[in-house]
Symmetry: C2
Subunit: 129 residues, 2 copies
DNA sequence: CTTGACTCTCCATTTACTGGAGGGTTTATA
DNA sequence: TATAAACCCTCCAGTAAATGGAGAGTCAAG
């Protein structure tokens, strides 16, 4: 199938598919005699793997590494395990940061309701922040 | 004071200070006759504002806009208010996403404990993900 | 007078794409 | 047969927010 259909099926944009190919996440597909990419259904699995891995926070570089393990016939389990651990901690850290930011914003919004623009003074850049 | 000291005091790296100047977040400071930047304490306030705004998720572009309002003598309150609203929602959205990712990772880690590498098969790229 | 710690500018790189220019191909319709 | 719409191609540039490094100038101490 050509790239448009493949993009529809996989939910990955045409631009991104070509990009993934360029950076080595997807193998170069066959071409029709006019040069169009001709994808096989098989690749959908690989793309799903990439999407799953991305969803848990893996970078494209990390995903490519896992794929390379596979291609060399090695089993990436322990590597993947430590990545999972790392991203779990990363997730927690980011969530904490965001919770803090959210709380701060809430305070600012609440304070903003009590203030009138007339209270603005030139000294502070913006007293809301 | 020169850039190194200013960087220490503000907690913003030298590189970043020069970058902020380049993109218009900081005014170009005076220079010594040998061309070194010569910062005044005054700028610390502006930098603190930038750090606060960044901490609640404002982009540098948004921060610059607020600063520009100020420089034109306008009061950016309602603008800032809508930005706060926007970033509050953004925060919530990101937190939800991260919670989901975290849960997924937990499931994967738990599953990984039950599996032995021997269970790996070639069909799936990595059954952990 | 030289060594080390500063500083300067300019350029390249990072991530994960996205947008656009300029052009070829295929298919349906007039 | 012409042509228009809807595909597809490659290549180049740009995004955000810095960071890293090269190569060179400056300043203070020993």
């Amino acid at each position: 199938m050509q790239i448009g259909e493949f993009s529809e099926l996989s939910g990955v944009s045409i631009k991104t598919l070509r990009y993934y190919e360029e950076v080595g996440l997807l193998p170069a597909p066959n071409r029709t005699k006019s040069g169009y990419r001709d994808y096989s259904n098989q690749l959908l699995g690989r793309l799903q793997f990439i999407k799953n891995a991305k969803a848990v926070g893996f970078s494209l570089r990390e995903i490519r590494e896992i794929l390379f393990y596979r291609e060399r016939g090695e089993i990436p389990c322990s590597h993947v395990n430590s990545l999972l651990q790392k991203h779990f901690e990363e997730c927690q850290r980011k969530i904490r940061e965001l919770e803090e930011a959210k709380d701060t914003i809430l305070v600012l919004i609440t304070r903003a309701k009590r203030l009138k623009p007339a209270d603005c003074n030139a000294e502070s850049i913006c007293h809301l922040v």
